[in-house]
């Protein structure tokens, strides 16, 4: 282990890497927020990420363009979510069971298709995969500190962070978002004022598919242009944890995503310093547990404070 110097670990690159590591989780989280606000906790995010990652590679190879890869991923993920939606909304299957089955099925399915479509087992890496290129933002890239941090990322990183803002606007500032949230909170009440709950749920699920397709594409077509079995490494589940942490609210969930992204980036960085990789790679998952624990604790403290305040007011009145 030897010379562990904090100054050389916590560098600007680490924070820049945080953004990049948070991106796939962020996409899945923002998508998952849509479905969870419409009343369905989408347990299948992990499967959507892996499907997205796989079909992005297929699309990139077939069309020779990363945008083609993105298109393939979006179509594949939308089809997958549509199946999820049909099973749950039309055939009344339990959403958690369907999501779980999808996760397991998608892992095997992509392995099978990897053999069939790309003739590879386990990993597919080739020059035929065309990935995205980094974007240098003019002006900002020349600012010393900010430039290194913000500029020079892959385009999907910016899309991910902008999507937080978009999701917030759609959910909280448009009538449509209001209707969607109403369906999630009180379906009967929403129905009584003429909102079709099923339609909203379909929409929520399909958005989660769409966003996860972006996340999957980012995984396989940025930085490393490859597809590997199990490359999502539980990021779909981390997204669920982020949604859970943020109470399905976009900005609070973003914080969780950044924490997970930071843990991921730190894990990669610490490995270069000779710490045992097995221990270091536990970091994102351990940090998830800690984050969930702390948020539950602070929630309870807030509730207690609110309750005691209420009590004081009541006694004052009497």
């Amino acid at each position: 282990m030897g010379n562990l110097d904090f100054g050389s670990i916590f560098t600007l690159t680490l924070f820049a890497a945080t953004f990049r590591m948070a991106t796939p989780i962020l996409f899945a989280t923002m998508g998952g927020i849509f479905s969870s606000q419409s009343g369905i906790f989408n347990v299948g995010l992990e499967s959507l990420l892996i499907i997205g990652a796989f079909f992005a590679v297929v699309g990139s190879v077939k069309t020779g363009d990363p945008m083609g890869g993105l298109l393939f991923a979006v179509v594949a993920c939308l089809i997958a979510t549509l199946i999820f939606a049909l099973l749950h909304l039309e055939l009344k299957a339990n959403a958690i069971i369907v999501g779980l089955a999808m996760n397991i099925f998608a892992a095997g399915m992509t392995n099978y298709l990897l053999v069939e479509m790309l003739d590879a087992t386990g990993v597919y890496q080739s020059d035929l995969i065309i990935g995205f290129k980094e974007v240098q933002i003019p002006f900002i890239k020349d600012i010393p500190f900010l430039g290194d941090l913000v500029s020079g990322h892959f385009p999907l990183v910016y899309v991910a962070f902008l999507s937080v803002w978009a999701v917030y606007l759609i959910l909280y500032k448009t009538p449509f978002g209001f209707h969607l949230r109403a369906v999630g909170e009180k379906p009967q009440a929403a129905e009584s004022i003429g909102i079709n709950p099923k339609k909203m749920k379909y929409f929520g699920l399909l958005v989660s598919g769409l966003m996860s397709a972006f996340g999957g594409t980012f995984l396989s077509l940025s930085y490393l242009n490859l597809f590997a079995e199990g490359m999502t490494a539980g990021r779909g589940w981390l997204a669920l944890a982020a949604i859970n942490f943020g109470g399905s609210k976009p900005v609070r969930s973003l914080i969780a995503c950044l924490i997970f992204g930071f843990a991921d980036a730190l894990a990669v960085r610490l490995q270069q310093f000779g710490l045992p990789s097995q221990i270091v790679l536990m970091l994102p998952y351990v940090s998830t547990l800690i984050v969930l624990l702390f948020s539950a604790m602070s929630d309870e403290r807030k509730k207690k404070m609110a309750a005691s305040k209420h009590k004081r007011l009541n006694t004052a009145k009497a």
């Binding site: 099973l87 299957a93 095997g108 539980g234 669920l240 536990m282 998952y285 969930l292 309870e300």
Partner: protein, 362 residues
């Protein structure tokens, strides 16, 4: 469900049993038929002969006594994982951490197996298996604490514990318990006194299979005949109602989670002491996940887990043989498994068959 206008007394009990059992059997036969057809279609589309492939699969799984025994051995850990899933799901505990509990159980068993010496088989083997159960059960404790004290859903926490368990055991065999002579990353080899006795010469089948069957029968008794099991099922059906009628909900939750962990941990212990003989990194090819699927396939019935596991085990072993004999990639069985899951979760046929059967019997 029976038609509401009919009074239940109109149909004698034996006919109801015929309808109930008949519906289930017919349902599974239809599902199996469709899944196999879809698998055949996929094989056909990739330009190979489905019949030869399936024959190779069946031959690989049940071709002779040795192969049949190997299939039974393969399904041993699946039975245990399936029962672990069943116990949790019946109590409405979504234990997605079976894979991690399997790893910890397996490592605990290996630890007792290679570090304790000078015991007789009759003492050493139960000690190893017990360590496995204890390891699996202990690994659920953080999850239970976070759920009961802080109301954090086990959906996410059990999953995180999976990743932590896999990495943690990898660390243990890479550093503190590294066997310098091993080619793959693995623990030292177990003492001979810790190895499970084989049942048939030439096969890997060992007494673990009998333990698994016994566990299934015990779980059936426990869930459906014991008071605690009844309480757990009531909590699973309706937590609030159970709490209102004085059933200890938290105790049922804790028990379901820990039993689930213990049983899948036992599965890990049996794999190590029976099959591998040492702990190997990433030794499980997703048996915990298979267990969950098996529990769903068996509709959370402990005895139904046995045929479901045999089906999964046969697919796994047969697919390998099929791949080497005909060149059809073994991942084709994913299609079959996926289709089975699809029809089991949606239960489209059940209603139809039951209606027909009820009309026909009465």
């Amino acid at each position: 469900m029976l038609n509401k206008s009919q009074k239940p007394t109109e149909i004698p009990i034996y006919k109801k049993i015929i309808v109930g059992a008949g519906t289930q059997i017919a349902n599974y036969i239809i599902i199996l038929f469709i899944s196999i057809s879809i698998g055949a279609l996929v094989i056909f589309l990739s330009g190979m002969d489905p019949l030869t492939a399936y024959l190779a699969l069946i031959k690989g799984a049940f071709g002779n006594w040795i192969k049949t025994a190997d299939t039974l051995d393969r399904s041993t850990v699946m039975i245990l994982a399936g029962i672990a899933g069943t116990l949790a799901f019946r109590t409405n505990v979504i234990n997605l951490g079976l894979e991690g509990q399997l790893y910890i159980g397996a490592f605990a068993a290996a630890l007792v197996g290679f570090s304790v010496t000078g015991l007789s088989k009759a003492v050493h083997i139960p000690l190893c298996l017990l360590a496995g159960m204890l390891g699996g059960a202990m690994w659920t404790l953080p999850v239970i604490y976070m759920k009961l004290r802080w109301n954090i859903t086990e959906l996410v926490t059990t999953l995180m514990m999976n990743y932590i368990a896999i990495r943690f055991t990898e660390y243990l065999i890479a550093f503190p318990f590294k066997d310098p002579t091993a080619r793959l990353a693995g623990s030292p080899v177990l003492e001979a006194s810790a190895r499970l006795p084989k049942l048939i010469q030439g096969s890997t089948l060992n007494i673990g299979f009998i333990i698994a069957i016994a566990t299934a029968i015990f779980s059936f008794w426990f869930l459906f005949k014991s008071k605690t099991g009844y309480e757990m099922r009531m909590v699973g059906l309706n937590k609030d109602f159970a709490a209102a009628s004085g059933i200890p909900v938290n105790r049922s939750y804790t028990l379901a989670m820990m039993m689930s962990g213990a049983i899948v941990g036992l599965g890990g212990a049996i794999m190590i002491t029976g099959f591998f003989g040492r702990f190997l990194g990433s030794f499980s090819s997703g048996y915990g996940w298979d267990g969950m699927m098996i529990a769903l396939l068996a509709q959370n019935h402990p005895l139904g887990v046995i045929p479901a596991s045999l089906f999964y085990g046969a697919l796994a072993n047969g697919a390998l043989a099929m791949q080497s004999a005909t060149g059809v990639p073994q991942t084709v069985v994913v299609m079959v498994k996926g289709t089975v899951m699809f029809f089991v979760t949606v239960m489209v046929f059940v209603r139809f068959i039951r209606r027909r059967l009820t009309k026909w019997v009465t």
